[in-house]
């Protein structure tokens, strides 16, 4: 039995016994009891004896997850998702903070619109931060009133969905943002190189006869923005990084002190371009079928050209996915962010090239990460840092499991498996190629700001 709570609920009190508590902020990793009293993490010995005791054996506790990149579709496409349904999907996935991207209809490019979303976000199942549009109408010309927006607590600015195409405008944005301490969150895609393309260039695209966008479409913008950040002292954050070249450019820039950060999506880590041809193995698994033999293996008529695999930036090659995974492991990628992109059926049940790009991710991100951990391709601590403490740090939030802090955590069973299917999802949409797959990692409880926002199988909310 699962149920949702909200940030407007009464503060929680409980003791979770014998769970593995991992806190990347202190490098702690130990099996112990964890107690929450009136929403605060406390010494279990101090909790009243009538507090609910929950059996945490076999479970892992980590800091509440933080997603830097979510599309909530409100206003404008409420059939696909609302602030409310998106917040529930987040809580179900273990997230306690999500950042809403501004490419709604109309876009979040002025204070009143940002205020409206923040108002709708109050007392939901997850904290919702807003990323405001970088330019008015997301048209890439005049910058938004960033000073006033900063005062409203935005997490950054972005024209996500598009790059800030003009280098002059991007330079102006970075300069204006620098003293505010906010990032320009850049969707690095040079449209001159990508227009008309529907997947990543490479052998799979060649096989399928689909126009492919080359990795240079990302790298050219990454290099441009690094130069601009270097010159202006501004902070550029590259979201949904998808190429090894882009990652290496970021590593080099960081070494010489440029303020540059980045995130990668779970699907760019776990899935590969071979998924478009119907392959259904994770990047860290041995490729077979059309993934091993992109030209010779027959296509699987049931799975080839699945519009659920159309995302932007497109799914990368296996080699690039593994390079990105290594970037998460070594810390050169700051965060895993889902780019949760819900779409209604009519925008996905069409030809691959006509399908709206994007897949949902809030409810499968932790599971995909845990699949990588299970396979030995990622440390659990690195995964949790990339999903919680590190992204939270980028938007001015803290995550710690030390006593005295407000409880903000996720409790999950890393070994339990669940079937990804539409009824199991709290999102209003179900556009993901993971439907029908069994994934490891079941969230048992999410606690945000001291309130239980989601609970499954750990007794009634107390």
């Amino acid at each position: 039995m699962s149920s949702f709570g909200s940030l407007g609920d009464l503060a929680a009190t409980f003791v979770l016994t014998g769970a593995r508590v991992i806190d990347p902020s202190t490098d702690a990793d130990a099996v112990r009891d964890l107690a929450v009293a009136d929403g605060l993490l406390v010494d279990p010995a101090t909790v009243p004896s009538d507090a609910p005791r929950l059996d945490g054996s076999g479970l892992v506790v980590g800091p509440g997850l933080c997603d830097l990149h979510v599309h909530l579709r409100e206003p404008g496409m409420e059939r696909a998702e609302t602030v409310e349904s998106g917040a529930r999907a987040a809580a179900h996935g273990g997230f306690t903070t999500i950042c809403a991207m501004p490419n709604t209809d109309p876009p979040l490019d002025e204070p009143a619109r940002v205020a409206m979303v923040l108002d709708r976000a109050r007392n939901r199942a997850c904290r919702v931060r807003v990323i405001a549009a970088a330019t008015r109408g997301r048209e890439g010309e005049r910058i938004t009133e960033i000073g006033e927006l900063a005062g409203m607590g935005i997490a950054g600015v972005s024209d996500d969905g598009s790059v800030v195409a003009s280098a002059r405008v991007a330079r102006g944005l970075l300069a204006y943002l620098a003293p505010l301490g906010l990032p320009l969150i850049e969707h690095a895609e040079d449209p001159a190189l990508s227009t008309g393309s529907v997947m990543r260039a490479g052998e799979t695209a060649t096989r399928l006869g689909l126009a492919g966008w080359p990795a240079s479409a990302e790298l050219s913008i990454v290099e441009r923005d690094i130069a601009l950040a270097d010159e202006t002292g501004g902070w550029v954050h590259f979201t949904h990084l998808s190429t090894e070249g882009g990652l290496n450019a970021i590593r080099r820039a960081r070494e010489r002190g440029v303020r540059v950060t980045c995130d990668v999506t779970p699907h760019h880590l776990a899935l590969t371009d071979a998924w478009v041809a119907g392959w259904r193995g994770f990047s860290w698994e041995e490729p077979g079928g059309v993934a091993a033999d992109p030209f010779g293996a027959p296509l699987d008529a049931e799975l080839a050209y699945d519009p659920a695999c159309r995302v932007n930036p497109p799914l990368s090659s296996r080699a690039e996915a593994l390079a990105l995974l290594a970037g998460v492991a070594d810390g050169s990628i700051d965060a895993i962010a889902t780019d949760h992109a819900p779409h209604p059926r009519e925008r996905k049940g069409v030809e691959f090239g006509a399908a709206a790009p994007g897949m949902i991710g809030l409810e499968t991100a932790l599971s995909l990460g845990l699949a990588a951990v299970e396979a030995g391709s990622l440390q659990l601590r690195s995964l949790l840092a990339a999903l919680s403490t590190r992204p939270a740090g980028l938007i001015g939030e803290t995550r710690t499991l030390a006593n005295g802090a407000l409880a903000d955590l996720v409790v999950f069973d890393p070994a339990a498996r669940w079937l990804v299917e539409a009824p199991a999802l709290a999102s209003a949409s179900s556009n993901t190629p993971l439907l029908g797959m069994e994934l490891p990692g079941v969230v048992r409880m999410t606690v945000a700001g001291g309130r239980i926002t989601y609970r499954d199988g750990l007794g009634a909310i107390g």
Binding site: R207, G209, L210, F295, G296, L299, A301, Y305, F352, A355
Partner: protein, 334 residues
Amino acid sequence: MLDVANGHTTRHRPAAGGVVVSWPDSAASPTPGWPHRHLLDVDQLTRDQLEECLDLAVEMRERRLRRETLDLLRGEVVGLAFCEPSTRTRVSFELAAEALGAQVVELPIDVSSVTKGESLVDTLRTLERTGVTTVILRHSMSGAPYLAARSVPVRIVNAGDGSHAHPTQALLDALTLRDALGSLDGRKIAIVGDIGHSRVARSNLHALTALGASVWLAGPPAWVRGFESWPGVHVADRLEDALADADAVMTLRIQLEREAGGGVPSLREYTARWGLDADRLAVAQTGAPVLHPGPTNEGVEITADLAASERSLIGAQVVNGVAMRMAVLALLAQ
């Protein structure tokens, strides 16, 4: 919205002019149990199945020559869904379906709305409910037939999808080449032109390599790059390398608008560097035949003289097209 009740045109098989037989009784008759419901691309066919298609097409060609009328598809309704302009392929399928006794409906699909990706599944569902059992689908987007096959309980024959596949063209090309060369085993076939955007080339790469040929590609770099690791395929740096000792040469139609995409500076330069004429073909095997899926831009990818010469198999390709489509429809209808 498609108006099936008023919009379609129905053509009945002409009653006169031939002997009606129920099933070919020769050895080349399709063996019961053809395992494929659809023809989405030739990559799904084994070498034996490819040969079976070719053999059956030969028989269909002979029966057609004898003006026999077959009724293998009696009771079937074949819908021609051409969501992209086409004359040759559409007519070829129409003749093939009629020659097998099917009722043929031409579906007046609004090309502009389908290319926007709005209504393919909806349109095909409507058709299925009106009794169409087989849809011949031509579509501008790669992979559209896969969507159709998954979404609608009718047989789908891919008549060309985007840059991806054109399986019946590849089969008829293979037949034309087998007629001319005997076997394709160990043969060198050159394909010249815009391979990257060509569904004809892709399906030919599958079919020709499966039948034992090696295929050499030549053309502007932007149009041939990416195929290097396809087993049995070689990407030539120079046209002469592809043509040298070739047993046959196929050239593709140049989409005149593609020069703007950066593939070639001009049609003039394309013709100067990759256009086929008798002189260029001198390095190929003596008398090596020339194929073209049509329609040709004469004077661009091939000279009018060469296209009309004895070496040209362009006419045979058209004849084989109807026979091959008959064979495919007969196999799928089992």
